[in-house]
Symmetry: C2
Subunit: 323 residues, 2 copies
């Protein structure tokens, strides 16, 4: 297994140039004062299709050879990866098939189709999405792009941290949400190269701390699908590539509760005027908790990756109202 | 009456350097496709204290002489201008008094005090805020900074459009929300200098079209306080400075309904992941309406100033949920 390196992140950066947004790094004097640090928020909620996932999917599809491009890409996802593959395929002029559960939210089905992908539905209770996907891939010669455990996906996700550190300068700490570990491992590749002293933390929902358990156990631990509002981090296990990089390069994996995510969501809306999905609040929630526990040195330079902003408006309004 | 010029906007820019955020200019492929234009959104909701008002207030206070600085600034406002003067005074190390109605929202009173200003309350039904303010100003030797009808305030507000055009290049159209006309007139000074062919539209709430009436009548028309969700544009009349500039430099004043503002607020949240206050949706609502009425040429380069994001979270959640 050949792990991707920072050179792959740099190559991904060049491929994404002119296709991905170079998202802003925002500051908040209120956050700095309240939590006694210097925060740099890398706002991937402003990325194309609303999440960092575009970076990895586009990078992977952009590396297809001519035959792969003709046949196109296939993925299974009910979340941001679906839209990321669909949009990347459209931009690169290739077909895409996304295998989605038939009870996926109508808005997500519509958004995926709006990006031009063919959506194949399956029954979550009686059918195996991986088998369906593999069969379709074989029949049509399509290339399967997994949501995180793929060197090109990891390298693409790493470009967000690369841009963050290039703009903010060397960081003391970097907090990154952790589902399957694609963003965390990619960010670690970038941070280890550009800010070797930076401490890197992956952040999981408390209810779904399989990554934390895996680090402790020294092997990939699998859990049941966790109950959390962080729907982008409901993964059950890290990948082989992502775990290997996280184990080598990440200082620790910490967790945040759903209540902390709602507090973060309200802070982002009220003070920074940003819509952030629950998963996108993981990194900031952990940084705030570290500050409150006095484990974050005063005035530390803290990078926070705000991973996405794709949340159903009715659900978002309800979460804001309950805080 | 000496009207401010683009040179004053440039001087304001230099004063704001390092104090105001240079806010991002965001794009939206979805907006461009849906309304057939190239939109450039200048996001003043990400400005310090959450609105463009910081620019004008800081510019005015930064021009105080030593005696004025010692005595400080005074303003009457229940909205963004209150926080803008309070924060500017704190940054410049001078005292500030803000005269606010005693029934102003608790969050706004708290935010103004959090910025270090002394808040003086009055009864909206029995007391005259202008008389109170003038008396306090005389007693304490403080300088009154009005919310819009002041050359330094207008010049400061013009820096947002200056930055927008510098970053986006020449625009074909510029849409700006219009309350008392400070942002509209300042933007017009910048756009006339930097993009002479650009058509400039001020946008008022339909229920409060005093500016539109004033343009038609050729004199400042006063109206009753309008009923609209655009609380930042509930002004009853333009100022002498702002009207003179608008009359000379602005192509027209158009209006948007509250329903259009809610639709815009939902679009900003859902597709651009931004919290925008109702007043901040005026400019975009009018641009969309022009596109739908086919008065906006295909692929026109359209600047939209998103003026602010200060909206009570409970109210915001309710507006998102009702759309």
């Amino acid at each position: 297994m050949q792990l991707p390196t920072y050179d792959d992140v740099k190559a991904a950066s060049a491929r994404l140039e002119g296709h991905a947004h170079r998202t802003p790094v925002l500051r908040s004097a209120t956050a700095d004062t309240r939590w006694g640090a210097q925060f740099f928020f890398k706002c991937e909620n402003f990325q194309r299709m609303g999440a960092f996932k575009f970076r990895g999917a586009f990078n992977a599809l952009a590396r297809f050879d001519a035959a792969q491009r003709r046949a196109g890409a296939i993925a299974f996802s009910s979340g941001n990866h679906a839209q990321a593959v669909a949009l990347s395929a459209r931009l690169l002029g290739m077909p895409a098939v996304i295998v989605m559960p038939q009870d996926a939210p109508a808005a997500k089905l519509a958004a995926t189709r709006e990006y031009g992908a063919e959506v194949v539905l399956y029954d979550r209770f009686t059918e195996d999405r991986e088998a369906i996907t593999r069969q379709l891939a074989a029949e049509r010669g399509m290339t399967l792009i997994p949501p995180y455990d793929h060197p090109d996906v990891i390298a693409g996700q790493g470009t967000a941290a690369k841009e963050l550190i290039e703009e903010a300068g060397a960081l003391d700490y970097l907090y990154v949400c952790c589902g399957g570990g694609g963003l965390t491992s990619g960010s670690a590749l970038a941070a280890r190269a550009l800010a070797p002293e930076c401490k890197i933390y992956g952040v999981e929902p408390e209810a779904g701390n399989d990554g934390q358990q895996s680090l402790r156990a020294g092997r990939i631990v699998r859990i049941d699908t966790p109950q959390t509002i962080a729907d982008g981090a409901q993964t059950q296990y890290l990948g082989n590539y992502t775990f290997a990089i996280i184990r080598r390069d990440v200082d620790d994996i910490v967790t945040a509760t759903d209540a902390q995510l709602v507090a973060g969501m309200r802070f982002f809306a009220e003070r920074m005027k940003m819509v952030v999905e629950p998963t996108g609040c993981l990194a900031f929630a952990a940084a705030c908790a570290a500050s409150e526990a006095q484990t974050l040195p005063k005035n530390a330079r803290v990078g926070v990756i705000v991973s996405g902003g794709n949340v159903d408006l009715a659900r978002y309004a309800a979460l804001l109202a309950t805080g």
